[in-house]
């Protein structure tokens, strides 16, 4: 009951957020929701399934380029978006194959290399992608009753997509798949011995996470109305990774919290001028040293500190002699 109430309040906050705000704030909110979707996807791959990926920005890029090219060719957004998402799903599936062979740092570097290769292709194949100039002038979707050309309307459009994506993800992580993803993260060998086809579920973790990146890209394209290779370089993947880890990998709401931190914190720290990135990086290091589980983990830890621990003698029985 309390949970539902809080969820309702959060929803109301999201609905009223752009009211009375300038377009800049509305833009930041749209950006937050868009990156929130990309981070949600990475949270599935990394947080739930334990597969590190440093290529989420390239999936945003694939989604954004596909959407841009199709909408510039006159397709409606609603037709372009599914194609963008499907493309990312398939490429994500392919990128999952290295994860079947290597883990951890090695996987991190394979995905990093993939991201940089994507950047090179996007920059060099100017016949398709516009090269370093990129593509611009994508129309914002018009749904007849709701024309999203103006900022508030576009915000509600973004919010609707965001909520749909969040509900869908909630459904996935609550289903037996969610348990399978966690099993893969916690103990893949044990999971395999219990009948879990770890190969397939690993590929699915990549494909679904990447599809979310593609969806974020499909929103990015009409939001910024400009796509260029630099927006999807490795640094952007790092930013999305920060959102997930700073929020707290493996917690459902962590990416939203993390995305808010990464996108809004620079605004808060703006007064420090050139120092803000330093302060930011320093804060991340301290957070990782103090609480590797991220902000949500930090919150949980603080809560535990103020609650007396329950004595649990029953957890000791049968302990190693």
């Amino acid at each position: 009951m309390k949970r539902l109430l809080l969820l309702g309040l959060g929803l109301v906050a999201l609905l009223v957020a752009p009211l009375g705000q300038g377009t800049y704030v509305t833009y930041l909110l749209c950006s937050w929701l868009t990156f929130g979707i990309a981070a949600m996807g990475l949270n599935l791959t990394l947080g739930y399934a334990g597969q590190i990926s440093l290529a989420q920005a390239s999936f945003m890029g694939i989604g954004a380029y596909v959407t841009a090219l199709l909408t510039l060719a006159g397709w409606p957004w609603l037709a372009a978006m599914p194609l963008a998402v499907a493309a990312c799903f398939l490429v994500g599936l392919a990128l999952g194959f290295p994860a079947l062979r290597v883990q951890g740092h090695f996987l991190a570097f394979v995905t990093l290399a993939f991201n940089t290769l994507f950047f090179l292709v996007a920059r060099n194949e100017d016949g398709l992608t516009g090269g370093p100039y990129g593509l611009s002038g994508m129309p914002r979707p018009d749904f007849g009753l709701l024309d999203t050309a103006q900022q508030p309307a576009f915000y509600y459009f973004t919010l609707a997509v965001f909520l749909a994506a969040a509900v869908l993800l909630w459904g996935i992580v609550r289903s037996p798949w969610g348990r399978a993803f966690k099993g893969l993260r916690e103990n893949p060998i044990r999971a395999e011995s219990l009948g879990l086809d770890t190969r397939r579920i690993t590929l699915m973790a990549f494909a679904i996470g990447s599809a979310y990146g593609g969806l974020a890209g499909a929103l990015f394209s009409p939001l910024v109305q400009y796509v260029e290779p630099g927006s999807f370089a490795f640094a952007q993947s790092l930013r999305i990774l920060l959102m997930v880890v700073v929020g707290g990998a493996g917690f459902f709401f962590a990416p939203m919290l993390g995305a808010a931190m990464v996108i809004l914190l620079p605004e808060v720290l703006r007064f420090t001028e050139g120092y803000y990135l330093m302060i930011y990086a320093g804060a991340v290091i301290v957070l990782m040293v103090v609480c590797p589980e991220g902000l949500i983990g930090l919150g949980g830890r603080l809560r535990d500190r103020f609650q007396a621990p329950r004595p649990r003698g029953d957890l000791q029985e049968g302990a190693r002699p």
């Binding site: 289903s175 037996p176 798949w177 966690k182 999971a191 011995s193 770890t198 190693r320």
Partner: protein, 248 residues
């Protein structure tokens, strides 16, 4: 003549010049509790891994319920009705005991895509709770498995091995590191499960007391070969076995 639950035929596996397993064959009948013992380096673990598909044997074959399982991946083996436990602690530490046990069953229900649309617990809560209660872990149902004591985690591991209703369960040193009180409980539960469901067990174990009182039949390995086979009392008295343990 019934089909053996497990048939191991002429398995051999070498590492370089060492022949870890050198032509081992045996069969396990339904409902049996077979103990597999031998001194260190006798090839028990290698044989176990060959049966479970973790290692590819140099020659020989393994059949479960009359079907060859050579070259199968571990998850396929599980779906063919082979459960196992691990020597090392092998639970999912950041999941609740209930989720651990449900995960052990859910992959045997429906298709991959079907599971995406299935109920969150895949309809397995009641069954999992029964099994948790059977292993006397009911009060710990919602605890994180990683927070449990060593012995309790061993019980969770065992419960997981039984969740899918296997016809054969391979237990890899179930007594290792468990204290005496807990050990008696574990043995009693395993025997009870065997009686109730007729599930066949193959047990690798160092703890002689445990094996002798649990198993109905024992195979002794030394230097990669079977040197003795029979009921516990007979094996215990076999001079070759004593020789292998003391003289080795």
């Amino acid at each position: 003549m019934t089909v053996p639950v497990l048939a191991v035929r002429d398995i051999a596996k070498g590492f370089g010049a060492i022949r870890a397993v050198d032509g081992v064959s045996f069969e396990v009948r339904p409902g049996e509790i077979l103990g597999l013992i031998g001194p260190n380096g006798s090839g028990k673990s290698t044989l176990f891994n060959c049966i479970l598909g973790q290692l590819t044997p140099d020659r020989g074959s393994v059949e479960v319920n009359g079907r060859s399982v050579s070259g199968r991946r571990p998850f396929e083996l599980s779906r063919l009705g082979v459960g196992r436990t691990f020597q090392q602690l092998s639970v999912f530490p950041k999941m609740s005991v209930l989720d651990n046990v449900i995960l052990a069953g859910q992959e045997h229900r429906g298709s991959l895509l079907g599971r995406l649309f299935a109920a969150p617990d895949a309809g397995l809560t009641a069954e999992a709770e029964r099994l948790i209660a059977f292993f006397r872990l009911g009060h710990l149902r919602d605890e994180m498995a990683g927070a449990l004591s060593y012995g309790q985690q061993k019980l969770v591991d065992a419960a997981m091995a039984f969740m899918a209703g296997p016809s054969l369960v391979l237990l890899d040193e179930p007594a290792g590191g468990v204290n005496l009180t807990m050990l008696a409980g574990l043995k009693e539960r395993l025997i009870a499960y065997n009686r109730e469901h007729g599930t066949t067990f193959v047990v690798i174990e160092h703890n002689m007391e445990f094996v002798m009182s649990l198993c109905t039949r024992i195979i002794v390995l030394a230097e990669g070969r079977i040197i003795a086979e029979g009921p516990p009392e007979a094996v215990r008295a076999d001079p070759r076995v004593i020789d292998a343990y003391l003289g080795g």
